[in-house]
């Protein structure tokens, strides 16, 4: 399997994306596009807790976690596509790849993948909700998360 993937390494990003589009599940007759808000967060431990005011809407979701201090690193509003990944730069040099798997009315399934990690998640939520997804393990006291809000 690893060998097969290495043979699939392509020299340019554009060609990669074309292959990606061809390889995707034909789950919809037309390509779905969903406007989203994507924020990258830095999470650290320590008291007192601190939450960037621009992250007030994720307060409940992060309150269960061990990191008490949350900082907004970047905030963008890409339109996620089906069949094409949107890359989000992370402060540790990595990237998160986001794409739409499918939509059904008010529900959307979003894929969150990290190229440098061995994970790929499909998460389905409905309008009004958001995904809080860890994208980097804690290192030197800092963990990274992204928040994906469809139809912001």
């Amino acid at each position: 399997m690893m060998e097969l993937q290495q043979r699939r390494v392509l020299p340019t990003l554009i060609l990669s994306m074309a292959l990606a589009a061809a390889a995707l599940l034909p789950s919809a007759a037309r390509a779905e596009a969903v406007p989203t808000r994507v924020r990258v967060l830095k999470a650290t431990r320590g008291t007192p807790g601190k939450l960037d005011p621009r992250l007030e809407d994720v307060k409940k979701q992060v309150s269960a976690l061990a990191w008490q201090q949350w900082t907004l690193v970047s905030d963008q509003t890409p339109t996620l596509q089906q069949g094409t990944s949107t890359f989000i730069d992370l402060p540790d040099g990595g990237q998160a790849a986001l794409s739409i798997v499918e939509t059904r009315g008010n529900l959307v399934t979003i894929e969150v993948a990290m190229a440098q990690k061995n994970t790929q998640s499909h998460v389905t939520i409905e309008k009004g909700q958001r995904i809080v997804h860890q994208v980097a393990k804690e290192k030197d006291g800092v963990a990274l998360f992204i928040v994906v809000t469809p139809w912001p």
Binding site: S63, A64, L65, A66, Q134, E138
Partner: protein, 210 residues
Amino acid sequence: MEADDLSLVRRARTGDDGAFQALVVRYQRKVYAVALGIVRDTDTAWDVSQEAFVRAHSHLAGLEGEEAFVKWLFRITSHLAIDAVRRERRSLKDAMEDVAEADLVGGGEGILSTPLGLDPSDNLLRRELASRMTEALGQLPEIHREILVLRELEGLTYEELAARLGIQKGTVMSRLFHARKKMQVLLADYAGLRGGDVGGQDRVEEGSES
């Protein structure tokens, strides 16, 4: 959680493997019991139990609060167990969730309550019945096994069951009813053979539980 549980989790979260092992010892049997109730097979339950602890270990640092760890441990256990039997499901449909008139026939016999009602302190009878129930559990469809185990071993409320299983609260209640009813039918023969007063339905009073 007991106070020493809290300190064990706290220490385990800092990487103290000895503390984590102590937690394993403390919860291994209950985790195994939950897994066994759902998967039925002892080897699979053993494997699921170990995997549950391994998964819980890998997330020690990410969850706030010591109580969250134990709750998470049992959640992982039931998820892994349910996953392990997913392919064996006899039916994925939520058939028979409604309560039909036929389901209530024979419901008023109080067959099981009678033997226990006569002597609530009969520990031997209680143990035998508990053992029979465990065997009977294996004869129930998977969806009934899992909801009974989650209700009885993890003590989940209707709301928690609805969230865990992805069904509505009404479905939780009717599914539990069907599961208990089926269990009652499976146990009825046993209670009858014990010589319990099966004609006692007229004497069954409210609050006659053991």
